[in-house]
Structure formats: structure tokens, C-alpha cells
Symmetry: D3
Subunit: 287 residues, 6 copies
């Protein structure tokens, strides 16, 4: 898996490694600041996931934070306030409300687009939440396909506490990731911290492991398992499930049909069936 | 919080009190009849919540029933059957099916609109279910943002047992409030009574307290906590989450952006950040 | 309940019995092959459920597999591969990709339509999962209204393991049947087997019984309970809940109003109210 | 038609007359100011159309301006600027951008709701555009079902010229009322005045008459013709066409079915068929 | 084109001929009754178009009425009233409103499904309107892809005159087939007859020919022209345009992409490009 | 307008000039090849319109072809076939159908995204069609806001003639740009050439001018007129109209409200009102 490794060399804020064949592990790499985000980081995040999305050597992605203290503490508020699109640069005649709104609109749209790159990635992404996981941590985790966590994870939809409604995706995606609307409203309105067990009880995460290392190990094992399967089947499954979330069943069924009209024309079905009969492990061409 | 108190003076079927700063507590106030509803009650319910929605002195609303026996036993069937739009007044030549349908349509539309006032209320509503909570109890609870209950709550989607499909909102909102479609179909088709623990296990309520007083206390405490936060942030979070429930993620993200293009232009962000640095408690202007 | 019994006489792959008044029990009847499906079976499935949908003598349907080993092992891969629309008959000049796609498209559309007949059935369907329940088992169960299972059930969204994204409905319906998106992605991408307790914990099934006989007994009891209620109320509840899953709340409320404008004009309401007062058991006309 | 006449007695800004049986003629009645609107007018407009919507003596509504000079010149900018929600009252500490936005949002929502009352009216509305017809004139006309005009009509989507995007409905409804998107963008972006012939050529109006009196006469004649038909058929047709505009065809077909499941149970069909055979003029019960 | 000819032999109410290679001409064949429809006719209509949809020997379909007097006079009211689902058979205790509604609902759903078979047909359908073209004539024409007419065509959305809102598709499809909403409301509410020129002016038909023979000739010529083109391209174009009508642009673009991911894998592109270079006429495989 | 001029210096396939204040004129600049497109051109097109979208010195954009012979002849088929994603590079083992589909999917998605940049541009775009305007010409024109043409324009949705369904936007946008569905199906299925008068008659273009120079002159004059107006009003109008095309009216009204909650907080309204009173020409800040 030369490509992501090489790409990793030039990355400033992320580390990309290959813990298993066809598996890429992306780490948010600013542990000294609890992996808090500032603008160049989310721009780089988009570039990393755009590259992984079409990299034929990668079939599954693991996402975690570097270091033991935090997945991410969220937005680096200090850095953000210095470049706030709403407040504008000091000493300049302020814009009127409409022009300020245009500036904010472009800024938020861009920020959302960067984070959504995790969801747009054609390969499954499994996210490991650990330690402090506030604000943007939840936005990011909601873009992943599978979420697991370490027992020490402390999670919060924190934005209300800094005076704003979360706008990078949590409020859009969390209600569709978790079954209890009452719980979603509770944590989003109160900004309270919740732990790993509560996250599992409501279905936000699907596994809890005793510590970060165990959780990352489990994520890599899951990724390796899925990376061994037909990439046509795996990537189609992700695509159709994401489409299903946002469409009525009849629309989803039709889209599935059109999708599979091409994707059933793969050599993988024959390979999978044969290896099933022969009890061998099939290999699948890159995608 | 003079306004709702004053308003309360003229209310017939509800009591509105102010158990904490910026918190209004609305009680369904017909305990002798298990808080069962008849038409003037739902008209008054709409008026109460419309007033609270734009009352700048109110930031969070608690909803419960008066008395210890019931949140509400639902529709007062006796009263309703006397004024049934389907059956029409006795002794008058009956309308044909189409004209009867028009009458029912207007009646149900109006009834739904009154109950939906709880959802339309711009402030968060936390609902305390306790004792008998049948039929309309579930319609109302589904319009609230957060649902908690007392251990003695006995809940049921009761309408099938009086020969009709529930039409005031439960069938529209419950499937989006709870993650298990199988459970939703079970309780809606069988009309069986379920208790507090089952309600919590499926995520319909997010807390269970030993008795009504404890549940109301917890609701008021939650309300007071949220009432202390930026109302711009809190009310925006409610709005965006309600929008998200009914829209695909891309639509929701765009709506959030447009919403925040105005709402990030608030003084609350600066106030919240400063008080975060100074470890003081911020105050926010009314909204 | 003569009608389904008679119909049953001519069935090849299903058995239809009447375990209680107005209750039909449909069994997938190919136990020697673990109830695995091939094309004539899903065509017959559609015919069975289309008949039950409008049979006035049937009010609730129970669906299970025949025999103790499996609800269904899914698609009979051997049979399917011989008639694969993608691979085409041997010895004939292969079609180009577009023409192959048209053939697949028609085939998958037809297959989906047959399985969706379970969802389209106007009467509630309670599905009993037991033993091996792979692939098509999940597609079918997702079309049912209520899902319960036996403790020995071994479930899997198996399609990825044969090289394709599931296209008969699981990926469209499962995300809306279960609250945890992380869990849904996990089982659909990994194709791993999960058991009854896990199925209940995430809300996929709403009851677990110690063995198949107990589960079928519970399903029949539930069916008998619901079959005693107003069929206007019951069938309207199913219709509105299915509509609600796929529409925003405002759309759902409006549809409910229009639906009930006709359906409140039933004699069942009066019958239910009277028997409620008289403590008698109401009877309702056929529908 | 006593009801609207009586109601008219207390109206300040509108005149309601009964030019033909079951036909109400609503005139915007501020000719000295070119029928320009200020807030009490749109509140009264909503009241008038809400009353007509359920008045059983009214079956079709004609809408025009009083006087010969204008249908309406639109918003009375002078009056509006004095009560501008965006600018706020003079001498008071200005609100921040978020709180100003909340005020605007409530104001625009209310204003839209008042104008939409014309569309919500259950009876068909035929609108006669004549003379100056700017800004709000187009918003109103787009809410009507049928639009005709006098040759002297001078029409414009004028809002861009006062520095804002039209927000009372024109931009939402005009693209669905007229087939040429290029023309819609042209007139909305340039705010240019266009005449009766151009309005007819693009399909915005469906008739042009030489002068206002002729246009009103034609509208009343059309209204009288439609008022003679089954109100169940007429009002159902309006409802289904409005629903169709905003839904896919499959949704629309289903809604039509549910609507007609009640509305085919009318005596009007028999009456219409019999009178068709007998060559007599049928009469229909009120609705 | 043996297949449709053969099929035609057993048809009762339609005639299917092959006026040009790969072109099928379907005629409504009950000229003595102005081609008026009764139930067996729409069931046969569905069978005819379902067969043509997948008949590889047919690439374009022409639809017209037999005889010179009518395309179709619409529903045969006399026949329909004898089998009215709303009125029920004489002498039997009438059903209540809810049960009557269920009967109507199933009836209308089936009727709509039969007529929609024209739209579902995978091949383009060009419809020739001529003579009396009332009621069902418009429902049918709206399902066709291209509409042309003879100068003698007399068209009307006639349902309001028999006391009901049209429910077989006109109200759902006409607003999306024609650009002037005012005109659509006019003709649907007034049930007035309009002629060929008016139909062309509003875009309902795209050609007018002096008499039926000329119109049929033009339709066959158009059909032959299109039948010579790549069926992959032609049928894909129909499918994507029908999808586009009912979806936002972003949805439509995505669907188009997935559709063409398979359909660009056809030999037709190479064939078309080569024949373009060589100035020869390409031939395309059946689809 | 220094910015676009400077940018223009480095452009390979487009020329950008400033014919009037705040107006940018973009010309497709490959006249020797009839402005036919190959991949680097659409990538550059996206870059040009992305830059114009946020360039504060540009308020309206004019789009035309360079030279007198063609707006654009569409895709340069020769260039495209050499890099065809479907056919793949010669001499390499061909991919299976699923993997080929993935390649096509990415390619078409990228191509669509480039052309959609014209629609995403926040400023109005007026497109001048002239001479040969085939295939991609229609895709591009459909992304513009206003379309006008020269009398010599020869237009065609040409894709069917090269064996494929158009997939870069015409089939998605044309049905929403023009009112006659019959005409849209005719030109898309037959690929026939149509002229300026026909384009105007169906509403595809809103003006026809005698020759290209006159058409470009008219476009620049329109652009200059609109560029003088409030950019907050103009850009908001474009945004809301594009949103309205793809949403139901209630959604559109709500979005408009939220949009204007920020955008009514502009200085432009005061400026426009004052200059209206003073009969002066207002100036508006950049946006």
C-alpha cells in the first residue's frame, strides 16, 4: 500500500499508516493540542479522504486520534476566533448583515464539505472514539460508517456551550444514526458529556473496548476482515445504505436495481461462489 | 416571568407556573377527569404554546399532567362522541360520504394543528409522562423534544381499541422518535399498555424516575440548565434537529448553513467564549 | 377461513393454515433445502400475499419457515447461478454491458416486487425468525410489520460474502427498522452472523422466545389478539405507519387526515365504544 | 349569499360582493393609494379568505383591485419602512444580527401565511390583473388558480428594485406557474415591467380582455360556470392539482386515490349522470 | 415483427399493427362506441403495453383510436355505473363508509395501474389525438411521451361534469406536461372543450396535422426515425426524462450517472461513431 | 474589473473580458474546432466559474462562443473516444463490468460537476446561443439563468445520435426549463435540429436577435442593467429561484424566510429606497 504511505509523508496534521493489507489508518495528529482543529486541518482532512476514496490499494479506513488523551477536543476556539468570518478582521469597517452572512455562508459550506469527505469516501470508514471527543468529534464520527469506542471516551455535542447551533453535520446526521430522538435532543440541547456505555446503549457506537489500544485493534481487525471481501460488494453496500438513509424505500429499491445492473457484471460473484464451494479464500481485483 | 403567569390567570384547562428562571411549567389541568381532553382544551393548548413560543421571558417549557393519576387518559370519548363530526347531530338528514369527509377533514386538520403547536413552539419542551398516559398522551409526548417518565407511567397507543387509526400525530412521529420499527408496529397495532422500563429500553423516554415528583423535579432541573445557555444556540438547535428529521442530510446541511448565516451574528458567542476563559457564568440577551 | 386453506391446496412451496380465527399462517415449505429460495418460490410468495391482502377472511398473517432448521438459508445459489441473468446461458454470444444491464434490471425489479408483496399486504404480518436466517431471510423479515425470533436464530446479511450488495430490500429497509446506523453498517458490510439477543438489543426483533414452537405460539397469540380488533383501525394503522416511514411529518399528517376522512365513517367506532361501555367483546364486519 | 355580504360590512380594506349565485368577488379596496398594502391589510386578507374557504354559500371567488388604476402597486413602502422589523424602532439599542433575524423570520412567516390564505382557500380563485400590478400583485396572483388580465395591466416582480429578493411567494410559485425558466429569471432579476400580451404568451395569464370591466365580467362568467358544477368535484380538483404541483406523479396518484375513496361517495355523481341523461341542469348540495 | 402481430390476434379491444420496422401501432378498437372504455378494456390495455415494453422487436409505439370519430370519448359511463364500486350491487345491505372506501381504493388503484402501463412502457410512445378526446383520452395522452393531434380534435378534462375529480392521472400529470398552470386549472375546473390549436399553443401537443390520416402518418414517420436509432440511447433517454420530471436536479444527475455506468458499456456507441465517420446507417442489436 | 482580466491571461480555452462595469463575458475559445469540448476544457470551465462566483468585482456573467460559427458543437468525439473511460486504454486486459462502471461513474460525476459550476455560480449567467449549438451546448445553456439566441442558432440534443442518453445535465434540467413535455421528449428522442424561433416559441430562449453581435449586445445590456442593482437582491433572487425549482412551495417559502432573515439586514434596502425617493441612482457595496 505504497500510495497512502507516500502521501502521508507530506501531511501536516494527519498520519496515514497501513496496519493491514488494504487497510489505511488515519490519525488526527495534533496530540499536544488534544487534536483540536483549525482551518488547514479540515482542508487537509478533505484531501486525505478524497485520495483514499479512489486509491485502489485501500479498501477500508480506520480513523482515530493520535495520542492517548483525545480523539479530538473539537474546534480550536482560539484559532477560530482569530479568523472568525462573523467577526471580521479588526480595524476594518464592518460589513452589513447581508454581506457578513454571505461570508459566513461560504465559510460554513466549505467547512461542511471538508468534513463530509469522510462520508463521501467510497470505502467504509470505522471510527474509534477515545478520550476527549467533543464537538467536531461527533461531526466526524457521524460521517463514519461504523463507530466503536474506548471505555475512557468522554463525548459531547458541545456547540451550544459556545453560543451556537452545531453546523458541521452533527445535527443533520445524529438523528439518523441513533434511534432515540429524546436522547438526541437531550445531548444536543444540554451539551452534557456522556460516556462509552451510554453511547453504546443508545446505539451511537456498536462496541466498547477497555482502552484505546484495544479499540484500535478491534477496528483494524474489523477493517481487515472487510478488506478481504469483494470491494464491489462492500463499496456498493456502503453507497446503497447511505442512499437509503435519505430516501423512501421505493426510491432506494430502484436506485439499488440500477446500481446493481452494472455491479452484478463483476467477476467477484463467480470468485466468491467458487471459493465458497472449494473452501478457499477468494481474491478480488482492485476497484 | 410575569407574562405566562398573567396569561395563566385566564386559562381554563391548563396551569402555567414558573418553577425556575425562564422556565415555564405547563400542566394539563383537569385531574378529576384524568386530564382527558375535549375540544376547548386542545384549542387552549394551542394558544398556550403559541404564546410561550414567542414569550421572551420563557426559554424552556416543562409539560406534565396535574394530579397524581394521569398525564392524560387521552380523548374524553363521551364528550367527543356528542360532537362527532362523522356522526353528525342527531335528527338532521345525514350528509353524503363526501360532505361528511369534508367535515371530518377540517376537524382533524384543526385538531392536529392544535397538538402540533407543542412541536412548533420555538423553545425546547420536556415532557413528563406519569400515571395513565393513553392515546393523546402519546401524540403530545411525540411533539415534545425530550421525554422522561415516572416509574408508574402506563402508556398505550390506544386508538385501535376505539375503532380508528390514530390521527393526531402518533403514527406520524413515533416511528421517527424510536429506533425499533417492530416495537412501534407492535404497540400501535395491539394497543397494549407498556410501562416505563419498556419505554426507556426502546428509547421513547430517556430517563425514568421513581415517582412523578422526582420526574418533574428532574425535568425542571434539565430545563433550568438549558435555560441558562444561549437562547440563540438552544432554539437554533431545536429548529435544525426538527428540520433534520424530515429531510435528507444534504438538505439539512444547507438549511443549517443558511440558518447560521444569520445566527452566528449574535453577541452570545463572544459572551460564551469570554465566560469560558474567565470561568464566569455568561448571561445572554432575551430572544 | 376456507379461502386460504383452499388456496393452500394448490401451493407448491408454501403452506397456509388457519391457526386462529381470521389468522393465516404462511410457512416457507422447502425444509429439506433449508427453505432456500429459487425463482418459482418468490413468484408464488407474491401470489400468496396478494391473495391474503384482499381476502376478507384474513386479518393478520404469521410468517415462518417449515421445519426446525431454518427460516430460510436465503437464495439457493446453485439454482440461481444456473439461471443467472448476468452470466447468461452458456454457448450464446454474450450481450454487451448495456443489454446485460437491461436483463438484470428487469430481473431484480421483478424479484424485489415479489418480496415487497409482504409489505404491500394490507393486513399486518408478524414474522418468526428461527434457525438459519440468512440473506433473503432478512429481506423478508424487513417487509413484515413485527419481527420476533427463537433463541436459536442465526441471522446474517450474507450477500457481501457472495460478491454483491444485497438488492432485494434489506439495504433499503433495515436502516429504517433499526435505530443504530453503526450496527446496520457493521452487519451489512461484514456479513457476520448475529444471534437472537443481539437482534433484540438493537430492536430488530421485539421478542425472543426459547425455541421455535414458543415463538410461533407467541406470534399466533399476537395475531389472534389483533385479529379481534377493528380491521378498519388495524389496516389503517399499518398503512399510515408505512407511509410515515417514508415521508416528512407534515406529509404524513395530511395523508392521515385524508385517509381518516373516509375511515372514520365506519360502524366500528360505535361498536367499539358500545362494547367498551358494556364490557362486551365487539364484533366487526369484514373488510 | 348573505354570509360574505354581512362579513363585508365590517371589512376595512376589502370589499366582498356577490355578483352571481355562489360567487364572491373580493376587491382590494384602497384605490386612493393604488391598493398598496400595509400590515393590517394582509391580516384582513387572511381573515377574508379563511372565511370564504369554509363558507358553504360560496363556491368560486373572483379577486381584483378596486378602482381603475391598479390591481395593487404592491407593498406600501413608506408604511412598511416605518414598521420595519429589520431596522427596528428608532432610539432603541439595536439587536444583534441573530435577534434581528428572529424578528424578521417571524414577520416574514406571518406575512407569507396571510398571502398563502388565497391558495389555501378550498374554493377556486380567479384573479383579474389590471393597471399597475407590481410586487405583491404577483405574489397574490400566483396564489390564485386562474389568472386573466386587462390589456392595460403593467406587471413587474419589483422587489429587486427595492434591494431585496421577493419573499412573499413569487419566487416560490412563479417557476411552477409558467413554463419558461428563462423568462422567469429575466423578469425576476431585472424587475422590468411587462404587459398583458407577454403575460399571456408565456402562460402566466390565460386570457386578456380589452379593459378591466371586460376582464372582471369574464372572470365572473367563468366563476358562475364553475359554481354551477359539483362542489365536491370542483374543490377536489383544486386540491389534487395543488398537491400535484409539489409531488412526484406516484405520490400524486396515491393521494388522489385516498382523496376519492371518500369523495366518490357523494350524491353529486348520480345527480350529474341523471341530469346528463335528462338534459336538465343538476343541482348539488352545499359543501 | 411477428410477436405483437400474433399477440394482436387474441386482442378484444385493441388492434396492434406494424406500420414500419420495429414500430407498433396500437389502436383503441371500439369505434362504434367512440372507443369508450369499460373495465376489460383497461385491463387489456395494460397487458398490451406490458408486452410491448419488453418485446425486443418493438422500439417505438404509436397510439391512436380506431375510426374517424374519436380517439376515445372516455369512460363508458353506462357500463361503469352498473359496476360502480361506490354504489355497490343493488339489493345488498350497503357497506359503511370505510368499507366502501376500501373497495373504491382498490378499484381506483387498479385502474390507475392499467393506464400507467403506457408510461411504464420502456419504449417511447407517440400518441395521436383526433376527434372526440375526452376524459380518459387526456389521462392516456399524458402517459405518452409525445403528443400530436389532428385539427378536428376536441379535447376536454371532462370529469368535473360527471361530479368527480379526475383520478386516473390527468390531474397528476397534466401540470407537469404543460407550462401554464392557469390554463391547466381553467380546463380542469371548467371541463370546457378545447381544440387542436389551443392544445398546441400551450404545449400540450407538439404538432397539429390537417386530419387524422396525416397525423397518424406523421406519428409513424417520427416513430420510424426514432426506431432507427440506438435503443440503448432511446430507452435510456425516456427513462431519465421520466425520472427527471419527479426529482430535483441533483437527484436526477446522480441517477443518470448510475444508469449510464452500465449503459455506456454498449456496442452502440462504437457503431454510431463509425457510421458517423463512414456516412453509413448504423444497425443496433435488439434490446 | 482587474481580477477576471488577470485570470483570463492564464486561460487556455476560455476568454474572459469586461464589456461593462461588473459584467464578465466568458467566451468558449476554440473556434477552429467549433468550440468543441475535450476534458481540459471542462475542468477549466469549472475553475473560471468558481472564480467568478466569489469575485466581488463581478455581478453578472455573459456566456457565448468565440467566433461566428458555433456556440459549441458539443463534445469533441474524436478526443473523447481516445480517452474513453468505458473502452479503456488499448492493449490492457479489460476490466469487468463492475469495475468499468466505477470508472465511468467517477468520470461522469466529475464532468457533470464541471458543467454544473455554471449553475452554482452565485451571480446570474445569461447565455447567448448562436450558430451550431449541439449536445453540450444545451447542457451548458440549461445551467445558465437566462437564455437568448441569434437567428442563425441551430440547436440539438444530439446525444442519442452517438448511441447514448445525454448525461451531463440536459435531461435533468431541460424538462424544468421548458413547459412542453411533449416537445422536450420529441427533441431529446429524435435528436433533431431546431432553430431559434422554435426555441423561443417553447420558451427555451426568451429573446431572438438577428445575428450573434446583436444577441451578445443585448446580453451585455441586460447584464449591465442587472449589475446596477443590489447584488444582495440579485444573488438572493437567483438562489431562491434555483431552490424553488427543486422543492415544494412550502419548503421554498421556508427557505426564503431563513435566507432573508439575514439578507434583509443589508444597507441596500435603505439605499434603494432613498434613491427611489430622490430619483438618483443608488450604489451598492460589493458582495
Amino acid at each position: 500500500m505504497a500510495a497512502p504511505m507516500a502521501a502521508s509523508a507530506s501531511l501536516q496534521h494527519f498520519r496515514v499508516t497501513a496496519p493491514a493489507p488494504s487497510v489505511a489508518h488515519v490519525e488526527i495528529n495534533r496530540p499536544a493540542k488534544l487534536n483540536a482543529f483549525f482551518e488547514p486541518m479540515w482542508l487537509e482532512l478533505r484531501a486525505v479522504f478524497a485520495a483514499l476514496s479512489t486509491d485502489p490499494d485501500v479498501r477500508v479506513v480506520v480513523l482515530s486520534g493520535a495520542g492517548d488523551r483525545a480523539f479530538t477536543a473539537g474546534l480550536d476556539v482560539q484559532a477560530a476566533s482569530q479568523a472568525s468570518p462573523a467577526l471580521g478582521p479588526p480595524g476594518v469597517k464592518p460589513l452589513d448583515g447581508a454581506r457578513t452572512a454571505a461570508r459566513i455562508r461560504r465559510h460554513v459550506t466549505e467547512f461542511q464539505d471538508c468534513v463530509s469527505a469522510v462520508e463521501r469516501c467510497e470505502k467504509p470508514v470505522i471510527c474509534v472514539l477515545h478520550g476527549i471527543s467533543y464537538g467536531l468529534a461527533i461531526d466526524l464520527a457521524c460521517c463514519a460508517d461504523v463507530r466503536i469506542c474506548a471505555a475512557d471516551a468522554r463525548l459531547a455535542v458541545k456547540e451550544v456551550d459556545i453560543g451556537l447551533a452545531a453546523d458541521i453535520g452533527t445535527l443533520s446526521r445524529l438523528p439518523k444514526a441513533v434511534g432515540s430522538a429524546s436522547w438526541v435532543k437531550d445531548v444536543c440541547l444540554s451539551a452534557r458529556v456522556f460516556g462509552a456505555d451510554e453511547a453504546q446503549a443508545v446505539g451511537f457506537v456498536s462496541q466498547v473496548h477497555p482502552h484505546k489500544a484495544a479499540a484500535v485493534g478491534a477496528a483494524v481487525a474489523w477493517a481487515a476482515l472487510v478488506a478481504d471481501k469483494s470491494p464491489v460488494a462492500v463499496q456498493g453496500t456502503k453507497e446503497i445504505l447511505n442512499h437509503a438513509r435519505d430516501h423512501p424505500v421505493t426510491e432506494s429499491l430502484r436506485y439499488t436495481t440500477i446500481w446493481n445492473a452494472a455491479n452484478l457484471q463483476s467477476d467477484d460473484i463467480q470468485a466468491a461462489l467458487l471459493s465458497g464451494l472449494k473452501k478457499t479464500r477468494p481474491t478480488f481485483e482492485k476497484l
